[in-house]
């Protein structure tokens, strides 16, 4: 089904040299199969492992219209990476997902179909509803994730089942508006996006996805992230 919509995939990367070619191949496969017009914007924050070199090779293979490079010099955070990527986006929809293959591009057609149902502003992937789930996490990680979502549900009442997820489809103007109003960092950033979306009365739909623990590389969740998350949640609770 070809339509006039174009989908920009924003891929912020940091030390994803091993994962990048695979995720790009998967994105290209599923988006081309479903006959959607798309581009992939890779925002690398000065990875020391050669991620940018890999990205340049991919650009040579797939062409500069499909693979757009917007690198930055150092690690400046997810929110600013999205802002930086959006400035050069030519699509009217923005897809965000993790570059470490925890999010499988095969779900992207589901997102797009769901969005078309009622012209939703945002479609977010959920691990906690229907066929959604996680794979490869140990019990501790699952408890932390569930615990975090529980605290968020109690304090913020978002009306969405999975708030820390980062596999989402936004209308471009919706993402632009939300990013400028968000102040949080880290995991809380994704939560704040949904909370701000609710404040602005944007419509949100959910699609079950399977989150698979990353194949290569180190995951970045530690005690610091947890404490940062709690602070962020309390801030949102107090101010919204």
């Amino acid at each position: 089904m070809a339509d006039k919509n174009k989908y920009t995939v924003l891929l912020p990367t940091y030390e994803e040299r091993a994962n990048l070619p695979i995720i790009v191949w998967l994105l290209v496969k599923y988006l081309t199969e479903s006959d959607y017009d798309f581009e992939i914007i890779i925002i690398d924050d000065g990875s020391p492992d050669g991620t940018l070199e890999a990205a340049k090779d991919l650009q040579r293979i797939y062409g500069e219209k499909k693979i757009v490079l917007r690198p930055r010099e150092k690690k400046l955070g997810l929110g600013t990476a999205y802002m930086h990527g959006i400035k050069h986006a030519t699509g009217n929809f923005i897809l965000i997902l993790d570059a470490d293959m925890s999010h499988h591009p095969k779900f992207i057609p589901d997102f797009i179909k769901k969005q078309a149902e009622k012209n939703y502003d945002i479609v977010t992937g959920t691990r906690y509803v229907g066929t959604g789930g996680v794979y490869g996490w140990d019990l501790k990680r699952k408890l932390i994730s569930r615990g975090a979502n529980l605290i968020t549900q109690i304090l913020l009442r978002p009306g969405v089942s999975d708030l820390t997820g980062s596999f989402r489809l936004y209308k471009k103007e919706v993402l632009e508006k939300l990013i400028t109003s968000c102040v949080s960092k880290g995991y809380t950033f994704q939560i704040e996006m949904i909370i701000r979306a609710r404040q602005n009365n944007f419509t949100i739909a959910e699609v079950p996805i399977t989150f698979v623990d990353r194949v290569y590389g180190e995951s970045k969740l530690g005690g610091n992230e947890i404490v940062g998350f709690l602070k962020g949640i309390l801030y949102l609770f107090a101010t919204t």
Partner: protein
């Protein structure tokens, strides 16, 4: 640990929560309307614990959380200095 064990743990947590919720509801809402000589009262502690229990649990929880936050905020600095 396999997903099977995770599921069992999950059900365990749900059952425990359900048990506590039902026990507490009966304790605090139903029992005051039941005569003191009925046998059901033997299953429930004196009602003062309905207040003391959650209070102590809350204090312990806050202490543990506070300790965790302190530990996480203080120890990275120690690692950097050494």
């Amino acid at each position: 640990m396999t997903p099977g064990v995770h599921q069992v743990t999950g059900w365990g947590l749900v059952s425990l929560s359900a048990f506590i919720a039902i026990y507490y509801s009966i304790w605090v809402i139903i029992l005051p309307f039941v005569d003191q000589d009925q046998p059901i009262h033997t299953f429930f502690l004196p009602r003062i614990y309905a207040i003391a229990g959650p209070l102590v649990a809350g204090v312990i929880a806050l202490t543990l959380i506070g300790a965790f936050v302190l530990y996480v905020t203080v120890s990275p600095k120690k690692v950097k200095k050494s």
